[in-house]
Subunit: 278 residues, 2 copies
Amino acid sequence: MEIAVRYRSFEGEVRRVRHASEACGCDMVFGIYLPPQAADGPVPVLYWLSGLTCTDENFMQKAGAQRLAAELGIAIVCPDTSPRGTELPGEHDSYDLGSGAGFYVNATEAPWSAHYRMYDYVTAELPALVEAEFPVTGKPGISGHSMGGHGALVCHLRNPGRYASVSAFAPICHPSECAWGQKAFTAYLGEARENWKDYDAALLIGEANDPVPILVDQGSDDEFLGDQLKPGALEQACIASHYPLELRMQDGYDHSYYFIASFIGDHLRHHARGFGLI
Amino acid sequence: MEIAVRYRSFEGEVRRVRHASEACGCDMVFGIYLPPQAADGPVPVLYWLSGLTCTDENFMQKAGAQRLAAELGIAIVCPDTSPRGTELPGEHDSYDLGSGAGFYVNATEAPWSAHYRMYDYVTAELPALVEAEFPVTGKPGISGHSMGGHGALVCHLRNPGRYASVSAFAPICHPSECAWGQKAFTAYLGEARENWKDYDAALLIGEANDPVPILVDQGSDDEFLGDQLKPGALEQACIASHYPLELRMQDGYDHSYYFIASFIGDHLRHHARGFGLI
């Protein structure tokens, strides 16, 4: 593990960390924000999963989360969105498959299965590394945006008891039934749709047995709302299963980090409640 | 004037605006944040001048300023850092001269003098356009970072009575005596150093006759501190002239937007006091 760079931020520190990943079979870089309280002992940690085309840096640079994280005493970890430097055939040809588009699944299909094991990376390998190397407590929160919102929901729903708190911004709620999800799942998981349901939040809700309340914000002017994100499918599944979901439609907001920044404070407070900080 | 894109942000709106610039002889793009209060009538406006390599977007995306600007009721205007699309010889060859590096001067030397008139643009043409087209009041504040901190100080010092409030992050305080400034001023203004002093804050302080208090934050771990920024020269000039300067050395901070984001709240409150809002 190598700390590639450090930035002082709100009396805490943003670090970019490079390490060899066993799950992905390549070097991976993640970002971590340590609030000032981390100097005095372990603090709760929030995992943030980013969307298509993002890296470990977008959230740290654009969400404006550090101010309140420093006030509340929450660490934030931002993994990258795919393996890097693996140079698989076609890996860089489109924005919604391959590099920058790992979809937080364990790929079973060639050529992706050699490296694209982002589910194991974000749920197992990365938390083990973070807990071993940084002053964080053991029951994290998880959130994310778009593809990363899908990832956050799936990570929670498949790991009951693991997360103290869950939220998402404009998540891809039902990837089996949208173009982004179908393209990625076909490539990574194969054409058999029964292998997709382990990575589809709207389908997993029915089996959920850890009813941690989920907060979702969705912009009403998000260009991907109807075709790709389908929050209604998540809402219907939650209603049918009596799963506690707060879905907030935010009038006039789009899919950008300007939207995320506008509501990240509410999400950090949601996670702080999950951590028992407030 | 054309609004190229709009983003809802903290119940206000970020807009990117394209217009034909007479000062620069080309199309220019600027960003403007209108807080929710602008829907009810004119609000004070803060001009933010960015640093080398930046565009109109860096501050809006990375500084995290909109949250408090929305709370205080302050509009923010972010001009670009140079003319664009003019394709002068050598314009794109280095990060510290030409595109992205206008230094907020009116160039007198060929080939730059045909377009590089950023001083007129940010002090006259852009404010006139903004005041005509948006609900803002007439006495703005001005701030900026690095090259843009230099620009903010110079714009204020050369225009007594114009600005309600002034601040800077890690400004180039004495460009006549650093490599960045000497390279840019030689190219834009010629080799005669007597033509440089109109654009050097440390030299202009002695003639200042509008003692608006200046707030400057400077990171102690800024890699450009000693060689390029020289806050000590500004401090000495202010002491000699009894000019009110608050220079804060911020321990461990660097030159990045993580530094700016950490202290932008203090600067917005400084400007709010200048505007009489708080």
